[in-house]
Structure formats: C-alpha cells, structure tokens
C-alpha cells in the first residue's frame, strides 16, 4: 500500500506539465576544462530569460573581459562568480543556478573540469537526477570525460546527455558526431548506463540548447537539450520501506511528544507499525502532525512530526522504520568512498560518520581504489584526494543503512575528520558486511538453528534484546517447506 500512494503522487506530477506542478529537476554539467560547461549554462539561462538586463550589464562593465563576436556577454562570467575564478578564467567551485521553462523548473550545478577539483564535481553529482556530459567535438572523448561519467554513475546518476559541443568548429560534421556518440554509448554500457541522449550542439551559438539547430544541422532530427531535460525523470529510488531519521524530539508541553524529521523513504499513515532503530522497540503511528493539518499520509520528502501510540525512548539520530522492511542494522558495512581532502583516508584513523541525522564514530579500512584510466579496482590501503575506492566500515555502536542503490538518503554518508572538522569523504553504502570471523566464525562454538513462522521471528527480531545481537545472527527467509527440508538434514 505504501507503493500505491507514491505511485499516485508521481502519476499526478507527471500528468501536469506546468512548472508549478513538478519538483525541480536537478542536473549537473560535467566534462573536461574548456569543453564549454559554463558557456552552456550561461546559454540556458540566457535563452530561458533567467538572466536579467542589469546582470548582463554588470558583465559588460567588467571590462577585463570582452563580449563575444555575437555581441552577447561572456556567459561563463555569469557562472564563475568568485574573484579567483574570474581572474583565472576557470570554474573552481560548484555554482547552483536556477531556470525554468513553461513546463518545468531546473536546478543546475556547474561543476569544475580540472582534475584537482574532482571533489567539487562529486559534490554536484550527489544530488543530481541527470548529468549533461560535454565533449569538445574537435577532441572527442577524453580521459576526463570517462572519469566524470564514472563518478556520476557511482553517485547514482543513471540518465546522461552527451553534448557534442563546439560542433560549429567542425563544420557541423555528422560523421564526427556519430563516431563520438557511438564511442560514448559503448563506454556508458560498460558502466551499466543505457539512458544516453547524444546531441550535436553549439553552446556558444545556442544551437540545440533551447532552440533547435536545424538550419545548420538538418541531419539531426532529435530534440534540443531543454526538451530532453523537460522529459527527464526524477530519481525516486526510495522504493524500500518507510524511513524517518529523527532530527529532534518536540516536547512543547507534557501532553505532546512528537518526532520530527524528513521522510527518507516509503510512506506512512496512522495505524502503521514501526520499529525504532537501533533499539528495536516497536510502536504504532498515532498521528502525522504538520502545521497545516493533521494528515492521513506522508511520503518520501515530506518534513513531518510523528506521534506514536505509546511511550518509547527515542532520540535524535534514531531511525523510525517500517516493521516489515527495516534497514540493515550492524556494526560493519562495506561502502564506496570519494576522498575529498588533501589528507588521504587511511586505515586505523577514526572519523565521525554522519548519515541523515545520525553521527557516530567509525574506523575506515580502505580495500581497493578505482583506476579511472582502466576502470579496474586495484588493491589499496589509503585513498588520496579525489580518489574513489571501496572501504570497510567498523562502528563502535550499531549503525543502520540501506544500500545506496536502493535509497540515496539512507545509504549516503559523509566522513568528518575529528582533528580538523572538515568533511573529508562522501560515501555510499554497498551492503552490511557478511563476513564471518572472530567468535562468529564459530568453528569451536556450538550454534543453534531456529526455525519459526515469519511473524513470530519479526516480533523477536524487533525486540530491544535482539537488536544488540543482530550482528551475530545469520538470517534466511525461506518457505516453511524449505525450512523443514533443511532441518531434516540436521539432527
């Protein structure tokens, strides 16, 4: 039933094409330096009339920079808002920009192309629904193009637009466009990405950005960029059960106790049974309170206050979840990491890990590092700035996550260096560690196999006593017949 509510909400959104009736689509532009990312966004803003005259005048007054041949302002300057960026003529940090068409509004992150600023590209990618990957038609696919596509995919982006830019500089050559797009599609497939729209483009001249470029490219019959963006889908991977990371407990007076947070997955309605993690206590939802009214349902993305039918001990950092589809609880997880700091991520150092509203101590053990040239994951014991790797996470206390693949909210985390307070890595949970070692290897110790009906097992596992022991228990859900067959072989 949770799925139904969401499906209806999304269908309603899709049916209404007007700006005000859809959530903004978030996208990033990426690609190598000078491929035209900032120019493209400037052009998007200009052609959708998001740039106002006084802002354009300010660019014109900035006389260190010329207007281009078309008498239009240097679009890149609209984006490169920091003094250092203007001075060096490059993009250093992510800029967020806003524009809209009659059908939809957009938040676009302009990310830097230089390898040394890869971390800023990863930052922009973390929230994006779609990536526009630019290549210079004269140069074709570069190592940096592959790197950005790889990072974007890792961060969960599954929709790509390949913008073959500066097509004006190769005389609108169809053969070159076809060759570059074929090469990219091939590469995207190796990343598991099938949703690629390739567009021949001149960001500078505004061809196939907002307006079609038919006059110079009669051979291209596909849509201009903005049409692809209007039709793109939003990431709604929150198909797992209900999740409410508790941000704060609201106790305005003795009679009221509510748990405030943003629904991070699934949906909830009064009467639903929930489990509180990590403690494992169970309760039912009594009310969903918001400022406007008492609601009869809330879905992913809603900021709510939840009232339960009984008193349970809940604090900031806990997670309220569906009783029948709770996240993984454990002390050890496997994750992918993007290193964001000049100090490498190393084994043995303890970091703060923040995920949703929960902050806890963690020890990080790097395992492999992605060689962006070859796409291979090589063995590694440290992760320097801008590198991507897999790591093993060891917690002092129980942690709970979903795989990032199934829930971007409850599967993502950041690492904070306790010495500098800097954010030093962004991480994505792969799975709970299933390795069996230490006492759990159990060679010597006796183990007990239990087989019991599912509802009974769930009640048992939801209990507080069980929560702490969860790491030591192996669980399989099978049919009654299969359980009987397995146990028959054991005496």
């Amino acid at each position: 039933m949770t799925a139904n509510i969401e499906a209806t909400v999304q269908a309603a959104e899709a049916a209404q094409p007007a700006t005000r009736n859809a959530r903004p689509l978030r996208l990033i532009t990426c690609g190598s330096v000078d491929d035209g990312k900032s120019t493209l966004i400037g052009r998007l803003l200009w052609d959708t009339k998001a740039v106002k005259e006084d802002q354009a005048d300010a660019l014109a007054r900035d006389n260190r920079h010329q207007q281009n041949d078309l008498g239009l302002p240097d679009f890149a300057l609209l984006l490169d808002g920091l003094q250092a960026e203007r001075e060096q003529g490059i993009t250093i940090d992510v800029a967020y920009r806003y524009f809209s068409t009659d059908r939809r509004s957009f938040i676009v992150a302009d990310t830097p192309g230089h390898e040394q600023y890869t971390r800023n590209m990863a930052t922009g990618a973390s929230t994006a629904d779609l990536a526009v990957l630019l290549v210079d038609a004269r140069a074709g696919i570069l190592e940096q193009t592959r790197r950005h596509a790889t990072i974007a995919t890792l961060m969960g982006i599954r929709q790509f637009v390949l913008a073959v830019n500066k097509i004006d500089l190769i005389d609108y050559d169809e053969a070159v466009f076809n060759q570059i797009s074929a090469e990219f599609r091939q590469f995207a497939l190796s990343l598991g990405v099938t949703d690629v729209t390739a567009i021949p483009m001149s960001a500078l001249l505004g061809e196939n950005v907002v307006h079609p470029g038919t006059a110079s490219m009669p051979w291209y019959s596909g849509p201009p960029l903005v049409e692809v963006l209007e039709l793109a889908t939003q990431r709604t991977a929150q198909t797992v059960g209900f999740r409410l990371p508790v941000q704060r407990v609201s106790r305005p007076d003795e009679s009221f106790r509510g748990y405030q947070g943003t629904v991070a997955g699934g949906s909830v309605k009064p009467g639903d049974s929930i489990v509180v993690l990590p403690a494992g206590s169970v309760a039912n939802v009594k009310q969903i309170v918001t400022f406007d009214l008492v609601r009869n349902a809330a879905v992913a993305g809603d900021a709510i206050t939840l009232v339960l039918d009984r008193h349970v001990d809940i604090a900031r950092g806990d997670m309220i979840a569906s009783i029948d589809a709770a996240p993984a609880l454990g002390r050890a997880f496997e994750a992918k990491l993007v290193a964001l700091s000049a100090d490498a991520i190393t084994t043995g150092k303890r970091y703060w890990l923040k995920s949703s509203s929960r902050r806890q101590r963690v020890r990080v053990e790097p395992k492999t590092r992605l060689a962006l040239k070859t796409g291979q994951w090589d063995g590694a014991d440290s992760l320097p700035l801008n590198s991507i790797g897999t790591v093993h996470l060891d917690f002092d206390e129980a942690a709970m996550f979903d795989p990032y693949e199934t829930n971007r909210n409850t599967g993502a985390f950041i690492l904070i260096d306790p010495d500098t307070n800097n954010t030093v890595a962004g991480g994505m949970i792969v799975e709970r560690t299933t390795r069996v070692d230490g006492i759990d290897a159990g060679g010597e110790r006796d183990h007990v196999l239990l087989s019991l009906p599912e509802d009974l097992a769930d009640r048992l596992m939801a209990s507080e006593a069980f929560a702490d022991l969860r790491d030591h228990v192996e669980i399989r859900r099978v049919s009654g017949a299969r359980a009987a067959a397995v146990l028959k072989d054991v005496d």
């Binding site: 859809a22 808002g81 003094q83 941000q247 400022f291 406007d292 993502a412 307070n421 800097n422 954010t423």
Partner: protein, 305 residues
C-alpha cells in the same frame, strides 16, 4: 494555523520541506542558534517556515534584527507587530558608532555606511549573543558569489567567509562541526528563486510589509533612483522636487539606499505577473550592490550576510 487551503504545488512543497529540514537540523546541532530577521519578504518567508518547522512548539531561538536606524518606518512597525502576534523572542541591535560618530548614508556614502551599520553591526551582535549558528534568508539566485555558497556556510571566529576553502556539501547531509568561537551561517532558502518566494507568500497567505504593493507615495529622484520622501530625515538637495507617484519596492532595506520601481501592482497576482516579465533583477534597486563585479563577495568575506 490556517483553514483549509489548496495543497502546495510539488515545486513549493519540495522547497518548503528542504527548508524545514535545515531549520530542524541546525536547531538540533547547535547550542545557540539565532535567526537574522531583516523584515523583508525573504525574512517573512523564513519566519513562516520556522514556525512550521517547530510546530506545535515555539521557535526555539531568538530573531535578530540589525537596525541601522535608517529602515523604512513601515518596516519597523511591521516588525513589532509580527513579534507580538507570533510571540517571538526579538532582539534588535544598532551599532553605537552610528550615533557616536554620526554615521549616516548621506554623510559616509553607501559603502562605508553599509560596512559599519550592517556588516560591523552584525559581527558585534553575533559576538554579543555568542551565537554559533545564524539563519539567513539569502538565496543562490540573487547574486553570482551567493550561487557558490553552501547551505551551512562556515565562518571563522572573526566571521570571515573563505570562498576558496568551503567544506564540500554532499546530498543533504550537513557538517555542523565547529570549534568554539567559530560559527555557521545557515541558508534554508538557498534553492528558492524570487518567483518561488512570491508564489509561496501567495499560497500561504504570509503577511508582508505593505511597501511591496503599489500605492501613491511621495518620492524624489536621486542618482537615478526613486527615493521614498516620507521621512523627515531626507533633506532635499538643490534641484530635487518631491512628487507623488505610483510606486512599490521590490526589495526593502535602508530607505535612502533602496530605490522604488514605478508599478501598478497592488496584488500578489500583479506582482508575480510583473516578475515573470521583468527584465531586471531585484538587486538592481540597491545602491550597495551596484559597485564593481565581485563587491558582494568582498562584503561577504568580511562578514556581511
């Protein structure tokens, strides 16, 4: 609480939820948060969102108004009315140098005046309150350096912003870890545009200062700006004539430095309609933003909001 009203459209709903999330996160993570309240439209939206975020509780932090002494009179009246109506902890602060050294927008020029009466005043007030987090209503679509700013924007103990060295901010996971003396500016409206603000004001019936609506008002033209001539402290310069025009304001600040626009927009629908066809940005009416490119970044580095 409002009666039955149509549900928010998904765009505004998403922006609202994000802002509420940020409010709750900061309130939970910091010891002494404060909300900058400038009495303008963005502050009105910010206040409304704060009330929503903590409902049914009260807003768990004070509101701080940096009063330069040169605000529109209607703004001050509105501010005090809101504080009473919504039971707010309102703190107001004015830099004593204003009186002591006679710092005014007329005598010191907009740049020096702003630096002393706004930026320095803000630093003094934040130090006095020992606030470790300050909410502001800034939006990324306002200006190019703001487009680069994080939602949690880290400040050194002397309130400086280092745009070259910002903490990466991934997903909606905010790093609120600071040392004593350091602070964070938090921007719940980062992803809102000016049109979003007006649509939300309309959808939620949020009260705003009447100066935003067109009416016949006395003005003089000065440096290409229409200055409201209601205040006895405005001395007319030789050649200036007071006349009555139908005007309104797109942003509100200090009356001598904030230009009006000629407009007949008397309703929210009119204002939104006007905005959708506007060809100049909202900051155009502000004298302090009209210096060379990069001036906002400079002010922000020094502690301006």
């Amino acid at each position: 609480m409002s009666e039955t009203k149509p549900p928010l459209d998904p765009n505004l709903k998403a922006l609202e939820s994000e802002a509420i999330h940020i409010f709750r996160e900061v309130a939970a993570e910091f010891e002494r948060p404060v909300m900058l309240y400038s009495v303008g439209k963005d502050s009105s939206v910010l206040l409304h969102l704060a009330r929503k975020a903590f409902y049914p509780g009260r807003i768990p932090f004070p509101l701080l108004h940096i009063d330069t002494g040169w605000k529109f009179r209607e703004m001050i009246a509105f501010r005090d009315r809101m504080a009473a109506e919504f039971d707010l902890d309102l703190v107001t602060y004015t830099n004593p140098r204003g009186k002591l050294e006679g710092v005014t927008p007329f005598t010191h020029g907009s740049s020096v005046y702003t630096n002393i009466m706004k930026t320095e005043a803000l630093r003094q007030a934040l130090d006095a309150g020992q606030y470790d987090a300050a909410f502001g209503g800034a939006r990324r679509d306002e200006e190019a350096s703001r487009a680069k700013e994080r939602i949690y924007s880290f400040r050194t103990p002397d309130h400086r912003w280092d745009p070259r060295n910002q903490r990466p901010e991934l997903w909606s996971i905010y790093n609120g870890q600071i040392r004593k003396g350091e602070s964070v500016r938090a921007f719940p409206l980062s992803n809102w545009t000016e049109v979003d603000i007006w649509r939300y004001i309309q959808a939620e019936s949020i009260p705003i200062v009447p100066l935003y609506f067109a009416a016949q008002r006395p003005v003089v033209e000065r440096d290409g700006m229409l200055v409201l001539a209601e205040d006895e402290r405005l001395e007319l310069l030789p050649g200036e004539v007071k006349r009555t025009e139908t005007i309104r304001f797109r942003t509100l600040g200090c009356f001598p430095l904030t230009g009006a626009i000629r407009s007949t927009a008397t309703t929210l629908d009119d204002i939104i309609g006007e905005l959708e066809t506007a060809t100049v940005s909202e900051r155009q009416g502000r004298a302090i933003d009209r210096d060379e490119a990069g001036s906002m970044e400079k002010k922000k580095r020094e502690g301006y909001f």
